[in-house]
Amino acid sequence: MTHNEQSTWWTLFLIPLAALGYFAVVLPRLADTPVSAVSWQVPMIVAIGVGIVGVILGTILSAIISAVRTREEPGAPDIREKRIERYGEGLSAIIAAIGAAGVLALAMLGVEQFWIGNAVFLLGVAGAIVGSIAKIRAYRGVFRE
């Protein structure tokens, strides 16, 4: 397994975990607080921060582990890995673009900021998960763009 594939596995583990942590904190607040008064901003910033920093640290760690294991300098991703990365990121972008239309509709309908913010958050999480799954399938099976 290359270190890029390891990073993808780590992303697939960490992002849903951070999202679950966020929802575990925020959703119970909906039970006894009106939506407009629910404090969701700080937990979301923390979850996004944990996700971004965690993915970066995981990527660095997997590169070090890979270098120690193979006793070689971790080189730049090869052409296949670059194509797989682009493919996964392309799928994530498609989800974000389609989802943005839905979020725009929510904003036009004047729904609470809570729902708009959480819809954007969910889209980001969904995009990262779908992109990571697509990349892992490409790494482990047949890769066709």
Binding site: D78, R80, E81, V142, F143
Partner: protein, 74 residues
């Protein structure tokens, strides 16, 4: 699982004919990971034209000795 391409290759045979070159060694020579060499060898990934030429050059043979493509009548 479906094959990525109709193209076949003789990379495995050529590796063994070249002092039993490992996938890692071939990968090192052409600047890709062992996993990429394996994916190409198993027909799970179509290399770019550049990479295909580099593989042929690593074995010192013409491209068509490494990769074959079936005739339409096959």
């Amino acid at each position: 699982m479906n094959r990525a391409t109709l193209a076949t290759n003789r990379i495995r045979a050529l590796r063994f004919a070249n002092d039993e070159m490992t996938q890692a060694e071939l990968g090192r020579r052409i600047g890709v990971t062992r996993q990429t060499v394996m994916a190409i060898e198993l027909g799970r990934y179509s290399p770019t034209l550049d990479l295909a030429f580099q593989i042929a050059r690593a074995f010192g043979v013409p491209l068509e000795e490494v990769f074959q493509y079936p005739d339409e009548t096959d």
